[in-house]
């Protein structure tokens, strides 16, 4: 399908790249269909991708693999809360953190460790989950986590 995106104009998205978030994400509960867009030319290492709504072209937020910014990311969640993802193997689950990048000062970028986006690649179902880890916060400064790496 041809979709309008926030930063990449119109893009051709294969049906298999459509992700279903039955509960949307927090603050955007009505947005059920999303996809992930990335700039292949820049390479995969440390790559920022875009979590793009397929229902509303203007909605896209930057995401990143936690392992691009920290060595250890071990979210603690109740297994039962992952039921909406269907059957999956732990090691196959895709995990992304939402980035907030202030346009005027990108060095102040923060990552949301407290509410990762989880996707089951087998059935393309996803959700955003609040994790129990006390030391994971909504706004981790990227400059700190990268320093500690």
């Amino acid at each position: 399908m041809l979709v309008k995106t926030r930063f990449f104009g119109e893009a051709q998205i294969d049906e298999e790249k459509i992700l279903t978030f039955e509960n949307g994400i927090m603050g955007f509960e009505e947005m059920k269909r999303w996809t992930i867009i990335y700039d292949i030319e820049k390479g995969a290492d440390g790559a920022i991708s875009w979590f793009q709504s397929l229902d509303e072209a203007g909605l896209a937020l930057p995401i990143i693999s936690p392992y691009s910014i920290t060595d250890v990311y071990s979210p603690i969640v109740e297994d039962e809360l992952l039921k909406p993802l269907g059957e999956f193997k732990d090691e196959e689950l895709l995990v992304f953190l939402v980035l907030t990048i202030p346009g005027e000062n990108p060095k102040e970028t923060t990552a949301n460790f407290k509410a990762p986006i989880l996707i089951n690649p087998a059935n393309k179902k996803g959700l955003q989950m609040i994790v129990n880890n006390e030391d994971y916060h909504i706004k981790h400064k990227l400059s700190d986590t990268l320093k500690n790496k």
Binding site: F7, I25, M26, G27, F28, Y38, D39, K42, G43, D45, G46, A47, I48, L59, A60, L61, P62, I64, S68, I69, E78, D79, E80, L81, K83, V98, L99, T100, I101, P102, G103, P106, K107, T109, N112, K114, A115, Q128, I130, I138, K139, L142, S143, L146
Partner: protein, 75 residues
Amino acid sequence: MLALSRKAGESVMLGNDIELTILEVKGEQVKLGIRAPKDVAIYRKELFEQIQAANREAMESAIAGINNINELFGN
């Protein structure tokens, strides 16, 4: 919004498998006990609202041209 008056030790049922119990009332604070199936997520509303706000803020991230974390730091 439905408003029910309850005393300490009394409960309210939400559906047939969620029980909300008033454990203690002390001045302005009420201590709640919640018994619910494990697949029901329970959070303080403030936390939920903070994450909603963080997602909205992330949507404002204006980073045309930045596609890699190293670029954020001018590398």
